[in-house]
């Protein structure tokens, strides 16, 4: 009986520690939700802080798009009906352009935006 109580106690403590740890980590992440549709991102201007992990969560409202930010070396396909997530830690300040890199039609060339990383 005593050992069972100890086991339950250990498991409970582990779960609590995990939840607290997750919440602390989540609190330290910068989560940005971005929608993509022909031929724009919303938002198209994103600001994040240097050194703090960033999660970009993309949703396509119509077709396949892309997200490519060469200056920060991050890219992903943005597929409709699917979660598209990119994680990175910005290690330099500045403004970095991004664009759609999956050809999506007549306004493709104008589908772009910027990520600004502040100190």
């Amino acid at each position: 009986m005593k050992s069972r109580l100890l086991t339950y106690g250990a498991m409970t403590a582990f779960i609590l520690i995990s939840i607290v740890g997750y919440l602390i980590a989540a609190d330290n992440e910068q989560v940005v939700k971005i929608t993509a549709k022909r031929f724009e991102y919303s938002p198209k201007e994103i600001t994040v802080k240097k050194g703090i992990p960033v999660v970009l969560e993309f949703t396509s409202l119509d077709r396949l798009h892309g997200f490519n930010c060469p200056g920060l070396k991050i890219r992903t396909d943005i597929q409709p009906g699917k979660a598209n997530t990119v994680r990175f830690v910005p290690d330099k300040a500045g403004t970095f352009p991004f664009h759609c890199d999956n050809f999506c039609g007549s306004g493709h060339e104008g589908m772009k935006g910027t990520i600004t990383v502040t100190e």
Partner: protein, 300 residues
């Protein structure tokens, strides 16, 4: 000044052209007798964007291609072949309109005297339907052919909307190269640059490095491409890459402005920045004399 083959021969000796070679330099070239039996030249036309409208950029959008056709037809000696390196048409989201534009382009270039014409798509032609409409009009999007000792290859880096050549085509490229002598002359045509010219403006090919890796063991490789609407010359190792002017609107030099937009029409210098090129090939020796011309056929 109208151009003819004599111009090529004359300019070849005076450095008025860009000389490209897999191995050799300009010194060797200028000391050689240029017109041997296996010499020939071809013309590269690119980015005609048939269907584009934008008076501020090109008020003669329906006449520029016709003028270029007339200019090429005016050559006293016609090129052995003509290569169109993509974006024959301007993008439309409508499948029917895409075919109408491809047909319109085809009807104009039918007037070319030279009937040995090769085509490849740009993303405007093929990026929305994986090249389906293009193939209906102009056949395969990647292929190879030989001409007077030179092996020519057209690589498709646009039918995949993500600008990848793709594993299937890379395997084809590898198999096609495999039996060739490492020193044999090879010319590659693409639409987009194979190398990272300026990724912020999408001027690259996602898996272009894989194609370059396959080509690298071959010592005489030259790449001619389009897409960036301007003349540009660069190297990846010993492989030379030459982009051509477009025939609808010029684009700014890579990274020169914050936003990549067509350069507005200059009424004082109509058709400025538009043109085409000729490439005189010293067969089997992988030496090329590149000459740039404006729409009127004046040498630049």
């Amino acid at each position: 000044m109208k151009i003819d083959r004599r111009d090529f021969l004359r300019f070849a000796g005076f450095g008025c052209v860009v000389f490209a070679s897999g191995l050799g330099g300009m010194g060797n070239l200028t000391n050689r007798a240029w017109a041997a039996e296996d010499d020939f030249f071809f013309v590269q036309l690119s980015d005609t964007h048939w269907g584009f409208t934008g008076p501020a950029v090109n008020p003669d959008s329906t006449g520029t291609l016709r003028k270029a056709v007339e200019t090429v037809n005016s050559l006293k000696i016609q090129p052995d072949f003509i290569m169109f390196t993509g974006d024959l048409t301007h993008v439309t989201d409508d499948d029917k309109d895409r075919r109408t534009r491809l047909a319109g382009f085809r009807d104009i270039i039918k007037e070319l005297k030279v009937k040995n014409i090769r085509f490849m798509p740009g993303e405007h032609d093929a990026g929305l339907d994986e090249g389906q409409a293009f193939k209906e009009f102009f056949g395969e999007t990647h292929y190879a052919f030989d001409h007077k000792g030179i092996h020519f290859m057209a690589l498709d880096n646009v039918s995949d909307p993500g600008s990848s050549i793709g594993q299937t085509q890379l395997e084809w490229l590898s198999a096609d190269l495999k039996p060739r002598d490492k020193g044999s002359p090879i010319v590659v045509f693409t639409h987009r640059p194979l190398f990272d010219l300026y990724p912020d403006w999408d001027w690259y090919t996602r898996d272009g490095a894989k194609a370059i890796e396959l080509l690298m063991p071959y010592s005489n490789v030259t790449v001619f491409y389009g897409h960036i609407h301007q003349e540009h010359h660069d190297n990846t190792g010993h492989i030379a890459h030459h982009s051509a002017k477009g025939l609808m609107f010029p684009l700014p030099t890579p990274g020169s402005v914050p936003v990549k937009n067509p350069i507005p029409w200059d009424a004082n210098q109509p058709y400025k920045g538009l043109g085409f090129r000729s490439v005189e090939a010293k067969g089997k020796e992988a030496r090329y004399a590149i000459s740039e011309f404006n729409v009127k056929g004046e040498k630049l």
